[in-house]
């Protein structure tokens, strides 16, 4: 029934607080509610599990590795690419992009949407013609 476990090496996404949106590695468990958490660009610190959402990605590390081993293990498991290719990761990237558009980008998107809808409608008209013929 459970697929994602809190374990040493589990990658989690921070969903509240100062480090919102970061991917962190659970490096050790303090007690039932807190974990020692580490990421390549932050000082190792504790975080409550309520601030974390577990992902499917897990890397192979021992308890509390030093920063170098951690970065090496993350490279070996290719966390960044796995995350950016996963559907969850892609959704977040798209959300960020949408939030950071300026007016010109929105204009370009409008044109692209109209073009795409035109092409789809042409195909649909073709299929309809074949169906009635």
């Amino acid at each position: 029934p459970f697929k994602r476990y809190v374990e040493i090496g589990r990658i989690a996404l921070v969903n509240y607080g100062k480090d919102y949106g970061k991917l962190v590695v659970i490096v050790d468990v303090i007690d039932q509610n807190r974990a020692l958490v580490d990421a390549p660009d932050m000082v190792r610190g504790q975080m409550n599990f309520k601030r974390l959402t577990l992902t499917d990605i897990k890397i192979d590390i021992k308890r509390v590795p030093n920063k170098k081993t951690l970065i090496a293990a993350m490279e070996a498991a290719d966390v960044k690419n796995k995350w950016e290719n996963s559907s969850w990761g892609r959704k977040l990237i798209v959300q960020k992009k949408r939030a950071s558009l300026n007016d010109f980008d929105r204009f370009k998107i409008m044109l692209a949407k109209i073009k795409k809808a035109g092409v789809v409608r042409q195909e649909l008209a073709k299929l309809k013609k074949e169906a009635t013929a």
Binding site: Y5, V6, I8, N15, V29, I30, D31, Q46, K62, R63
Partner: protein, 175 residues
């Protein structure tokens, strides 16, 4: 609030009979320096014949945690006053800093035994190696292959600004 650890050094004022009175040093937990100094005189009064009015504070420094990025098991010996009398207690906590463990201790004593801050005296604290821990609740985390699922997922908006009283649909609480 945060508890800070202070080192307080003080002595009685020098008099004609005693030119160089003995200097006493204490390590204390308090929320701020003022409270730490006050607590120092409280304890010193109970141990020696000296009061704040005929004593002087020599130094007060805050003590910071040496390694706040490693997890340690803290054992805390305390003396507390319950409704019926004074008792000694030994409690264990797992935390990254000693101040965090002391804060856990105060909140736990308040919740489990209804003992407030002013009725607790910390006798001794120590970092305990994992083999010597006595309490099952700390020993259960001494597992290098620890693994457990988060059973209940509480859906929270990422900032308090986005909080609403009513939601359109029931949240999914599974994991």
């Amino acid at each position: 609030f945060q508890y800070h650890q202070f080192q307080v050094v003080g002595r009685g004022l020098p008099t004609e009979t005693d030119e160089q009175p003995k200097i006493y040093r204490m390590k204390l937990w308090a929320t701020n320096e003022v409270r730490a100094k006050s607590k120092f005189w409280y304890y010193l009064r109970k141990l020696k014949k000296v009061k704040k009015s005929n004593g002087q504070m020599l130094a007060i420094n805050e003590i910071f945690e040496k390694n706040p990025t490693t997890i340690k098991n803290y054992g805390i010996w305390l003396r507390y006053q319950s409704r019926t009398g004074y008792h000694n207690m030994y409690k264990e906590y797992r935390d990254t800093t000693l101040n965090g463990a002391i804060e856990q201790m105060y909140t736990e004593m308040a919740s489990r035994h209804r003992v407030r801050h002013h009725c607790i005296q910390v006798i001794k604290t120590a970092t305990i190696p994992a083999k010597l821990c006595k309490r099952e609740s700390t020993k259960q985390f001494h597992n290098s292959k620890i693994k457990f699922p988060l059973v209940f997922k509480k859906v929270r908006p990422p900032t308090r600004k986005l909080k609403t009283t009513y939601k359109a649909s029931r949240p999914n609480l599974f994991v």
